[in-house]
């Protein structure tokens, strides 16, 4: 336990490498189905809406709204000890109703967070070097 100072880094799933590579370029991309045009998060091999195989990686604006959030105050991981309280947020992205992703809401006073509050994308570098998409109140 001692000596672990960072949350785990993401090991890209087979097929999800472009998602993480784009993050390192500070771009948020998702798979968009070439049959039904729907985005999906997280990466998946087949469209969960129409079951088509085809997709293209397409960029998103990074603008969205707070769907829900939790303020984590109890550290369950050694790296959390110095980080609590921190906010995990589920953001609904503007491109598509119901397109939601999990992330952190950083630099936010928990009391200032509200449902449907607009948020904007940013990136933070994990100690492993991988950049992670995060959000701030817009």
């Amino acid at each position: 336990m001692n000596g672990v100072t960072a949350f785990p880094y993401p090991v890209p799933e087979y097929g999800a490498e472009p998602y993480w590579q784009a993050c390192n370029d500070e771009r948020l991309v998702m798979q968009r189905c070439t049959a039904c045009s729907k985005f999906r998060w997280h990466p998946a091999p087949i469209c969960p809406y129409c079951q088509a195989d085809g997709f293209a990686w397409e960029p998103l604006s990074g603008r969205g709204r707070v769907h829900t959030w939790t303020v984590i105050t109890h550290p369950v991981h050694p790296a959390a000890i110095g980080k609590v309280p921190y906010v995990v947020v589920e953001v609904e992205l503007e491109e598509q109703p119901g397109l939601r992703m999990l992330s952190n809401l950083v630099d936010a006073d928990p009391a200032a967070i509200a449902f449907d509050a607009p948020v904007a994308l940013g990136f933070e570098r994990h100690p492993s070097g991988q950049k992670l998409p995060i959000f701030r109140l817009a």
């Binding site: 336990m1 672990v4 960072a6 949350f7 785990p8 880094y9 993401p10 090991v11 890209p12 799933e13 999800a16 999906r40 997280h42 969960p48 769907h67 829900t68 959030w69 939790t70 303020v71 984590i72 105050t73 109890h74 369950v76 991981h77 050694p78 790296a79 959390a80 980080k83 309280p85 921190y86 995990v88 589920e90 939601r100 992703m101 999990l102 992330s103 952190n104 928990p110 449902f115 994990h126 492993s128 991988q130 992670l132 995060i134």
Partner: protein
């Protein structure tokens, strides 16, 4: 015949003590619990020929058969999402095996050293592996690890949509503690809890408080399932499976954490036919066993199994008085549940549901005829209705 209705019965129940450190192996706990259930049923090793387990259980069916001297196994299977999906799912596996004649008597069990960590890592603590793989690769880098944290996201959304308050979750926690204090075998026996205690307990993942969370426990629990015909010749008053099923909703495939807005939750998938198969309605249920991993999810399960409409859980529960034995009209988790008896992944609720129908519960609901039992929601889950002979 298009359902499991009245084609399988629970004839034996057994469990170890529930503790913070069992002092023995998970295999020993499994064998003690199963052995107790066999003795309760009046069955010997040669009478049992099947074992149904939770996927998360470290014990191997053949190891158990060897230790217990079961000479021939004709059925073995595991229930995924068990975990919390297991306490009914394993019983349903056993029921289907005996109903189809594939086995004569099947054990469903859970045994773990989840609190001491001697065999099973504590669920309330995160792995310290440096890389996160699979689904975790989208969660762990953000410090999203534990079930309580994921429930925090869902609970806050429910509060927003429906005006549910923390005190409604507290009413559930206080109810389970009330029953634990009437059960000397419960881990929280002798430790009363008030709503103020709940409201003053520290935040874990706001809005989830410490006292919204289940215990962590070492122990073992088991039931034995056979056919109704055979059940009537055995030692105990038989308890029949009036209906049962498993379910997952579309959100389970598209969303990582529970989608409170989903029009068809995993519980609703099951509820669509559960009561029809049993030939009863929610009003006929005498005693309720809702999987209580986290109090907010108990409220959502009560709604989604149709005991009230979605969003009306707060009014249905109120201050919780109706859920508390002896005066409540629908007692909940009468031995204390995962929240206050012991966290046997819900198998302790299955056992208590059987006691209620045998008439041997400590908090005995008068003339109880139907028990409702659910596995954990927010993951693919399972539920059943148990009945006794009239």
């Amino acid at each position: 015949m298009d359902s499991i209705h009245d084609r399988a019965s629970i004839v034996g129940i057994g469990h170890t003590e529930y503790s913070r450190d069992s002092g023995r192996s998970e295999l020993k706990l499994a064998c003690e619990a199963i052995g107790a259930a066999m003795a309760d049923a009046g069955l010997g090793p040669a009478d049992v020929d099947g074992i149904a387990k939770y996927t998360m259980d470290n014990n191997d069916a053949v190891d158990i058969a060897r230790c217990l001297g079961i000479p021939q196994l004709r059925f073995f299977g595991e229930v995924a999402y068990g975990g919390g999906g297991g306490p009914v799912g394993t019983v349903m596996l056993a029921a289907m095996a005996v109903a189809t004649g594939q086995a004569k008597a099947v054990v469903a069990f859970r045994a773990m050293n989840e609190r001491s960590g001697r065999g099973t890592p504590r669920f309330g603590q995160a792995s310290t592996a440096q890389g996160a793989r699979g689904l975790q690769s989208y969660l762990s880098p953000y410090g999203l690890f534990s079930p309580a944290q994921m429930v925090g996201l869902a609970a806050r959304r429910h509060m927003h949509l429906y005006g549910t308050e923390s005190r409604h979750f507290g009413a559930i926690a206080v109810t389970c503690r009330h029953h634990a204090n009437l059960n000397p075998d419960a881990m929280m026996h002798g430790r009363p809890m008030t709503l103020d205690d709940h409201q003053n307990s520290r935040m874990i993942a706001d809005p989830v408080r410490l006292l919204d969370c289940c215990l962590e426990t070492d122990g073992g629990a088991a039931v034995i399932v056979t056919t109704p015909e055979r059940a009537r010749d055995l030692r105990q008053r038989p308890v029949h499976i009036a209906a049962g099923g498993s379910g997952a909703g579309a959100w389970n495939h598209r969303s990582v954490v529970k989608d409170v807005d989903s029009p068809m939750s995993e519980s609703m998938v099951i509820a669509q036919r559960l009561f029809r198969d049993a030939g009863i309605t929610q009003d006929d249920i005498d005693v309720l066993f809702i999987y209580d991993h986290f109090a907010p999810l108990v409220l959502m399960a009560i709604e989604d199994y149709g005991f009230c409409k979605r969003g009306e859980g707060k009014d249905f529960i109120g201050d919780g008085a109706r859920l508390r034995w002896p005066d409540g009209d629908l007692p909940l988790n009468t031995s204390g549940g995962n929240l206050s008896e012991g966290y046997m992944h819900g198998m302790q609720n299955t056992i208590e549901a059987v006691r209620q129908l045998r008439g041997t519960a400590r908090c005995q609901v008068q003339d109880a005829r139907y028990s409702f039992v659910s596995s954990g929601n927010a993951v693919p889950t399972s539920a059943m209705i148990l009945r006794r002979d009239a």
